[in-house]
Symmetry: C2
Subunit: 338 residues, 2 copies
């Protein structure tokens, strides 16, 4: 299936025709869980994950043979306002660190058995300062979304999108504030480590940006063009493409989740094929997860990004499938079922 | 080091001479975390786990080469009161299921790369009904504790003790109630699946048992002899031996944690070498973890036992060490450190 995001109408058409979970297969997986040698429900979230994987992969015994971690990196004009504790050149330095195998995500992907690919998106051309003007053109937004779709390997059976971009918690906060309303300080946190004064300044920048656009009617592409960044648009494009391909997704932290809010705002079922890997320490993330009606898998006070939480959660999904696929039934094992 | 639990005095002597964490090595590991290519603290709990492992293993870059899952199984006289949704013969049936590779813990250990050994403890001789009399003699208690110590493989570098025993949430509830006081219903849950009437009956059994012994002065061995079971005594003996050998431990759920409360009651530092793997859905577990001043690693609504939560948490510990040992420092990677 060739996925093309050549103009906003393509996105609208895809969003109006999202494939649903295979309920019959999910039901088969649910029935299987009731027969395994354990008290019903005693594997808790692992049972839910196995059934969810079965439904999206369309097989009663789902498999993880080629989990793909895809990291998108971008630079942000809003960073010139001093909204990050690190300088913008760190984005490119960290891309090199990913490519040389030295970052956290390299070790975590290796531990979890995931492939890792890194996609730097025009790092020498930061987006515009979205507190003043749109972050990027619609064309640039669609191109970044297409990069996200095209990044999915042909054999991928689980996608772990991640990001790197100095300043991008500001983009995530602005999108969250735009989609869910409330006050900017609900969605705005310290990112990589701001002090109180700089946090207050960051909140004022987010408020200004959202006030600039909030009275417009906004479709997903426009939202990402106004307040996004290239890596956020790429994640949105990747997650939409995964849905069209019926590949389940492990979303990572605040930025990766916020990148998908424009999809959710357009269609509240758009993230049904996604699990949230963890509750980030960045406080906006928990509010976003609650607003989506989801529950994250892990709660480890992570606030790194890079898909780090998704790579760790992959091991939980592997455990869920190992139990689901490998356990004996009561009948097979000759165990009394209560 | 030969560990012998021949009489209660041996236990007293060990408890009064527990080795402490190697603080100098833990400090080195903490310093290393500050130099890795990530914002300080951004790996959250993973950083804490790596530093804790370094301190107990006594090496700045701790290793997991031979994690050992040890399952102890016992039968309980208290089960004759109808305190479990499953009949007592399921204990032995599940031991066979472990031995044949069909249980959840077999799949989870395989997924996490842990060895698995199962120790059935006199399954044809249930303990006495502890609501009426001591569950077992001091000699039987010490013998079970010794089994727990002797079960540790020579090369083990991380221990995951687990249990199987129809009726053993009653023993866990009674020990928790004895050690922490309060009301029996705080500590008593539905186990494998009791209805409301049978839960109320179970609470009355726990109350009766604790009232029988609570005015005595109780050392660890007596507590386990009065209210324990063989598999709980084995876990206590195993966890104490691991401490003496400076091997870190991942405790599993309510029963495994409660089995260690007699050690903690005798010396509040006795479980410093243990992490709690997860918050069980069995409600007493969260209360016990809070009372111990600990925070569990996972919260997945598990309530299976068998060390299932510990096997899953092992993958989190592996991720923590992968990042700690494998990441580049800011200097090595040429990344600006903010």
């Amino acid at each position: 299936m060739k996925i093309e995001y050549k103009n906003p109408d393509h996105i609208h058409t895809y969003m109006a025709n999202l494939p649903a979970i295979d309920s019959a297969t999910a039901d088969q997986a649910h029935d299987r869980q009731q027969q395994l040698t354990k008290p019903p429900g005693s594997l808790g979230r692992l049972e839910d994950i196995a059934i969810w994987m079965a439904g999206w992969q369309g097989q009663e015994k789902p498999q993880i043979k080629a989990p793909a971690c895809l990291i998108f990196a971008g630079n942000h004009g809003v960073a010139q306002n001093g909204v990050s504790a690190f300088p913008p050149e760190v984005t490119e330095q960290m891309v090199l660190n990913f490519q040389h195998g030295g970052a956290a995500i390299n070790q975590l992907c290796q531990a979890a058995g995931a492939s890792l690919n890194v996609f730097p998106l025009s790092l020498d051309t930061p987006t515009a300062d979205f507190s003043e003007q749109p972050a990027m053109s619609v064309e640039d937004t669609l191109a970044a979304m297409q990069m996200g779709a095209d990044a999915i390997p042909d054999d991928a059976d689980l996608i772990l999108p991640g990001e790197m971009g100095i300043g991008n918690t500001s983009s995530a906060a602005a999108l969250s504030h735009l989609v869910f309303g409330g006050e900017a300080d609900t969605w705005t946190g310290r990112g990589t480590g701001l002090d109180d004064d700089r946090l207050a300044h960051k909140i004022s920048i987010i408020t200004k940006a959202v006030n600039r656009v909030k009275n417009q009617t906004l479709d997903p592409v426009t939202m990402l063009s106004e307040l996004g960044g290239r890596e956020l648009a790429a994640i949105a494009g990747c997650v939409l493409a995964a849905r069209l391909l019926r590949i389940p997704v492990l979303l990572d932290g605040f930025i990766s989740t916020a990148a998908c809010l424009p999809l959710w705002a357009s269609n509240n079922a758009a993230l049904d094929h996604c699990q949230i890997s963890h509750y980030s320490k960045e406080p906006g993330h928990r509010h976003v997860i609650d607003a989506l009606g989801k529950t994250a898998i892990l709660d480890l006070d992570l606030r790194l990004g890079e898909a780090s939480g998704a790579a760790i959660a992959l091991q939980i999904v592997r455990s869920a499938l190992a139990a689901h696929n490998g356990m004996a039934t009561f009948a097979e094992a000759g165990v009394s079922d209560g």
